[in-house]
């Protein structure tokens, strides 16, 4: 089935229920870039395939890490639930997460137990799937510093736990990584890594690479310096720590560092691409996804925007922010780096998922690559051995940049749309949360297509207003985010990686802030911020089923085979995160600049959803 290419780009939305008014599939044209420097370098190639290490483990009965495998494909070979019967999906049990804040975690299943972690206070729950109603087996409540809540920039979310060899690993908002015995719920170790008094928190989901747990910090908003850390998974001891800015020895750049492009070659560029010592507060936090190739023994992760967000005091490329590192999993030594947004001016963090894929070649061995949908609006395909850019295609309406020069690897900025003091700019697209924020895409092993939950947001920088923080007055630009062209704020899009274009796209009223899941049953799942959990035909975008949960959905759908041998689908409901802060944080809709201007684009969210925190699990009758 690998050569299966859906050719139906156009489809009529099936009339489903009266409430399905804001979402409809339609002509899927990739949004035009104002100038097309990037080209479809992969055009006319066979579709990409999943690498061998991303194959099913135990027939995909389990789902043991948020990305399902270390390639982060979020694909299941289970096909019991398929395009013909998904319409019969029923909710079989629910579980209250005990806290009504943004629920971004992925429910995990290992053996006969479901594990899920809540937002702050980051309670880890274990549910017994062998019993009717999946009763609570144990819970683990990590000790936490309450102050962490006041430090987190964008709601008190947690993006999930991960499982390996009898233990669950997750991060606490106040900056510890913990290991918990999966059978007993007892803490195995806990290592304090981040300092909330300096503005650091931890929200990302760890990834286990062999015997190491890879984690990173959050807090680019507060002038922290980003880092990734590898912990020994048995003891919790720090094995290596790699900063994202500063001298080479602290970034772990040594003789093995062989980047593809000239701008990354030289010594101490993590200092030299910044004025004075600005790199010390330079951001580049590691709050997104980590992937791992066991054959190359390389981990891949993105770094956040440089700090401070306002760029005028940090001329230069601000390495190693807003880009991707490939590092040796054992030593942390950098192998290559690629920067999506040099000298970022628009909060385009580079932390989105790097999904590892192989590109078949007619002439011989497949090319090992990765695909990365970036906040700056481009989908990048990069050689994961060398760091060479293979293609960069726009998937969002873009005005802030003019494309990516494939020869130099550099993003070309549109100077007219850059924020500057004394200058009021309209229609900067994408807005700071980007064309796509943290919400992870899924990659179908079957068709080689990418399933992208994303945004359609632009912003205006308007007149200045007085700000005041820590006893210090200032005047800032008023950031107002708004829907992009078409008037909708989010979409769920199937993307043909080889052709560099959308196959179909479903418009949604709000940003699609949930993760995606795609299965061998040709069904793709995602959730909406107004609370619908949806299943669509992965090949056509045809809506097949939907279920209204109690709150908006920003979680990650997962699937597994239960002890009764049936396939199940799980999702957390509970709106929040940066986009949903207006509901989860009770922000004032009249203050459009709240949540860094996101509230302006989300004023109607409180009229369609309230706070929540519930796990929903579905199965066929």
């Amino acid at each position: 089935m690998r050569n299966f290419h859906p050719i139906f780009a156009v489809l009529a939305a099936l009339p489903m229920t009266a409430t399905l008014t804001t979402a409809h599939a339609e002509d899927a044209q990739p949004p035009p870039s104002s100038a097309s420097i990037s080209t479809g370098a992969l055009a006319d190639k066979a579709p990409p395939v999943a690498p061998s290490f991303a194959g099913p483990v135990q027939g995909d009965a389990e789902w043991s890490s948020p990305g399902r495998d270390s390639a982060l494909t979020r694909y299941s070979t289970l096909g019991d639930i398929n395009v013909s019967n998904v319409k019969n999906l029923r909710n079989v049990f629910t579980f209250s997460m005990g806290v009504n804040r943004g629920q971004e975690a992925a429910p995990l299943v290992v053996g006969n137990t479901l594990y899920v972690v809540s937002p702050y206070p980051n309670t880890l729950y274990a549910l017994d799937l062998t019993q009717p109603g999946a009763p609570l087996k144990w819970r683990y409540d990590p000790p936490q510093d309450e102050a962490a809540q006041g430090v987190a920039c964008c709601d008190v979310v947690n993006r999930g736990a991960t499982y390996s060899d009898g233990k669950l690993y997750f991060n606490t908002l106040d900056g510890s990584t913990v290991a918990v015995d999966a059978a007993t719920g007892k803490e195995a170790w806990r290592t304090k890594l981040a300092t909330i008094q300096m503005g650091e928190t931890m929200t990302m989901a760890p990834l286990v690479a062999k015997d190491k747990v890879i984690v990173g910090n959050s807090g680019g908003e507060l002038g922290v310096r980003g880092w990734a850390i590898a912990l020994d998974k048995n003891t919790g001891k720090v094995v290596w720590k790699a900063y994202s800015t500063g001298p080479d020895k602290e970034v772990l750049i040594g003789p093995d560092f062989k980047p593809h492009y000239a701008q990354y070659k030289g010594s101490d560029l993590g200092v030299g691409t910044w004025p004075a010592d600005m790199w010390k507060q330079g951001g580049g936090t590691v709050w997104g996804w980590v992937s791992y190739d066991p054959d190359l023994n390389l981990v891949y992760y993105g770094t956040s925007n440089p700090g401070p967000w306002n760029s005028s005091m940090r001329p230069g490329d601000n390495l190693w922010t807003a880009g991707i590192f490939a590092r040796d999993a054992d030593t942390g030594e950098a192998r290559w780096f690629y920067q999506f947004s040099p000298h970022d001016m628009s909060d385009y963090d580079g932390v989105n998922e790097n999904i590892l894929i192989d590109l078949p070649s007619a002439s011989g061995a497949a090319r090992k690559a990765l695909v990365h949908p970036d906040r700056n609006g481009h989908i990048y395909v990069i050689d994961r051995v060398t760091g060479e850019l293979l293609s960069a295609e726009p998937f969002h309406h873009i005005t802030s940049t003019k494309g990516v020069d494939l020869k130099s690897g550099r993003l070309v900025y549109n100077e007219e749309k850059q924020p500057q003091p004394n200058k009021f700019v309209k229609d900067i697209c994408p807005a700071p949360p980007g064309a796509k924020d943290w919400q992870p895409a899924a990659f179908s092993h079957k068709t080689g297509h990418l399933f992208l939950p994303h945004n359609n947001l632009c912003m205006d920088l308007k007149e200045t207003e007085v700000g005041y923080i820590a006893g210090t007055p200032y005047v800032g630009a008023e950031v107002l985010m708004k829907a992009g062209p078409g008037g909708y704020r989010g979409a769920f899009t199937a993307w043909d990686i080889s052709a560099g274009k959308a196959l179909w796209s479903i418009k949604e009223r709000f940003p699609v802030w949930s993760g995606a899941l795609v299965t061998d049953g040709d069904v793709a799942f995602y959730g909406t911020m107004d609370g619908w959990f949806k299943a669509v035909n992965a090949n056509t975008g045809e809506p097949l089923w939907q279920f209204k949960t109690s709150s908006g959905i920003i979680g990650q759908p997962t699937t597994w085979r239960g002890p009764d041998n049936k396939q199940y689908i799980g999702i957390l409901s509970g709106v929040g995160g940066w986009s949903g802060a207006i509901v989860a944080g009770d922000l004032d809709a009249r203050d459009g600049t709240a949540a860094l201007g996101f509230v302006n684009a989300m004023k109607d969210l409180p009229s369609v959803t309230t706070k929540g925190g519930t796990l929903y699990v579905f199965a066929l009758p």
Partner: protein, 279 residues
């Protein structure tokens, strides 16, 4: 100590007289527990002293809700209804009702006392100096001095200090002024009250030169009026506090002076005849 950032639930710490009768009036102040010279949980900030003065006039006892003054401060304190007054905020801050301002200050150049004073952002000497500025995080904004320096292309010799500082220390805002005293930088561009207070406490004598405006960047003011803030709807409370500020102007001026706050307004008490004859 984890109580540095007490939660909203655990924060109502009564300061002042104990065990007052049920009918006694409370002035519920929202404040940062660790933000000298402005406020501190032990009452040592100048805003703590001013709160006491206003409360005296109101016949009230001060109670505090402590919360770090960062993004979400007003949302989680004043506008959550758990306290009613913030002692110092820029006038006309959009989500507050401001009283009349009770002082006006400016950004200042802080130098060692024996150095030639900086005349302004266009002083050629500035280009030869190591300059310290405070950086705001991810709010898409800079302090006005940062904008003024960046506009002149002065970035290579500029050192950043996070405006939040290290909250574990006794005075998170102190390091930028300390750096001038120690000679790690030559000049710092700091908001007046912060500069004035820490300069008084340094071993090395320091001098402050006020910056009134940058004629090339008028959108970025260097001076700000500071007022007491209440919720937008609290007209009566704001009027009461206005009267208290006017009646106790001399005492408040004395507090500001004792903390070394550089003023760009005229701190003389208003003549009594003016009070009450306002239209």
């Amino acid at each position: 100590m984890s109580s540095r950032f007490p939660s909203l639930i655990a924060i109502c710490l009564v300061v002042g007289t104990a065990a007052t009768p049920v009918a006694a009036r409370e002035m519920r102040v929202c404040a940062d527990p660790n933000n000298l010279p402005f406020s501190k949980q032990d009452g040592s900030g100048f805003e703590n002293k001013i709160a006491d003065i206003i409360a005296q006039e109101l016949g009230a006892t001060v109670t505090y809700t402590w919360f770090a003054q960062r993004r979400g401060f007003l949302r989680n304190t004043l506008n959550a209804g758990v306290c009613d007054v913030v002692i110092g905020y820029p006038r006309n801050y959009q989500i507050l009702r401001s009283t009349r301002p009770y002082y006006r200050s400016s950004y200042v150049f802080v130098q060692r006392a024996d150095e030639k004073p900086i005349a302004g952002y266009d002083d050629p000497a500035l280009r030869q100096m190591q300059i310290g500025v405070q950086l705001i995080g991810d709010d898409g904004a800079n302090t006005p001095p940062v904008a003024a320096l960046a506009k002149r292309g002065m970035t290579a010799n500029v050192h950043g200090f996070p405006v939040y500082g290290d909250y574990r220390t006794a005075a998170p805002l102190a390091p930028i002024v300390d750096a001038v005293s120690k000679g790690t930088i030559d000049v710092a561009v700091v908001w007046g009250p912060t500069a004035g207070y820490f300069a008084k406490h340094e071993d090395t004598p320091l001098k402050l030169t006020p910056i009134l405006f940058d004629s090339t960047l008028l959108s970025q003011p260097m001076t700000f009026d500071i007022a007491v803030g209440v919720r937008k709807t609290e007209l009566a409370l704001s009027d009461e506090i206005d009267r208290a500020l006017r009646n106790r102007r001399a005492d408040i001026n004395a507090v500001l002076q004792s903390y070394g706050v550089p003023r760009t307004d005229t701190p003389n008490p208003a003549p009594a005849s003016v009070v009450g004859s306002m239209p």
